[in-house]
Symmetry: C2
Subunit: 250 residues, 2 copies
């Protein structure tokens, strides 16, 4: 038997009242989910919490203990509601202060006389953290332990994610196959459950989409596995099962 | 002094591997956030978990204990990966079985001879739950205690949400005002913090947006409160503060 593929897990913590109020629609969760899946990191959980220190601290601690990596987005700007850096330092039990490396980065974009208290707030980095560079607007994110702290603005977050993921350990990539069912879910659910039970290393899901331009529901069966052979066998079984059902209908 | 406005809180639990893998982009969180804000229910937390019973049970219990209402989306279809109803029953400590009211609803769309084991799975409703009608595809959601269990398909979820929210208690509506800053965040952060401290009943945030079509960052200051007078005063203070800063720059 071959060794089980290595599993690296992650969670996302989105920090921001503006997402919870609906004012801003999150664009980061889906992007990070795609990115991590592509590199072989399994996203296991997402939380969205308000700009409230005790909520952030509790969520950081729950998620960093449980998964290989935690990615946070939001709350690292210069205003009073940006409390992520201080909250993460508190969660990790380390101190925090203005970091000269971060000040130097900001000074590549700002005159020294424009450096003020608020901008220095963006330079507060927990002790022992490594910086994550921000090629868009200079103010960096940081990594401390297994926690990656990134900006909330999607374009900046995306640049930070790309640079930090390069430094992380990744596992076996999840492979996936989609099959257009062409039948109602209720018709193939039993056969699909049998296939799912037969291949413990393949995760099989069925996803209905409602087609608003006509045609009603279209169902996709998605098979996911890190084992290409098991995936191909399971897909062949699903296709045979669907073909049998369609023949029986004729 | 007037009485403090009544606060009704909520959380969302999104259930589904397909969101965590990135394959499906969630469209429900932003919609529910907007809807709840509009009716005066404060969304406080969101979690996304996989189709794993123990994860769903733990999240349902954590969130239903903490907030007035919990809304779940996803996992109530007919296939083996649809385990939300059974998981919610387990979390609530109640039994679950095929519910004749749900069967009757499905039979408005299906012939009796097409009712099979998989379709009966969609009729499994925890004991004591009330049904949430599904005008799109008949299979209902349900409400048990303070937990609202809804479909994941956005169009169905939206219809269920509208019908169930009508039956819920709502609080004072959150009012909000936006001010285009016209200045970098670092320039007004100090003044904004002072205004925020002056109005404890107003929550003030600053939100940078990166304008990809030119112009770089545009910052919006958003003020939110249930008290219209405090909101108007705080807005006037913010506008005066910005005007002072702009005059000083000239």
């Amino acid at each position: 038997m071959s060794q089980a593929p290595k599993t690296i897990t992650a969670a996302i913590l989105v920090i921001g009242d503006e997402i919870l109020s609906g004012r801003t629609k999150d664009q980061n969760i889906g992007f990070i989910a795609d990115y991590l899946t592509a590199v072989g990191i399994d996203l296991k959980e997402v939380r969205i919490v308000a700009d409230v220190e005790e909520e952030i601290v509790a969520a950081v601690n729950a998620l960093r203990d449980r998964y290989t990596y935690l990615f946070t987005t939001g709350g690292i700007g210069p205003t009073h509601d940006d409390i992520t850096a201080d909250s993460v330092a508190k969660a990790m039990g380390v101190g925090i202060d203005v970091d000269e490396r971060a000040v130097d980065l900001l000074l590549t974009r700002l005159k020294r006389e424009d450096m003020n208290e608020a901008r220095l707030r963006m330079c507060r980095i927990p002790f022992g953290a490594g910086l994550i560079l921000n090629p868009i607007s200079a103010a960096p994110g940081f990594r401390i332990g297994n926690v990656m702290v990134m900006a909330g603005v999607p374009r900046i977050m995306q640049a930070m994610l790309a640079s930090v993921v390069e430094t992380l350990e990744t596992g076996a990539k999840m492979l996936s196959e989609s099959v257009e069912a062409g039948l109602p879910e209720g018709a193939y659910a039993k056969g699909l459950e049998e296939t799912d039970a037969k291949y413990p290393e393949v995760s099989i899901g069925s996803y209905p989409h409602f087609n608003t331009t006509g045609g009603g529901f279209k169902n996709q069966i998605v098979l996911r596995s890190k084992d290409p052979q098991a995936l191909a066998s399971a897909r062949a079984d699903v296709e045979a099962m669907l073909a049998d059902l369609k023949r029986a209908q004729e």
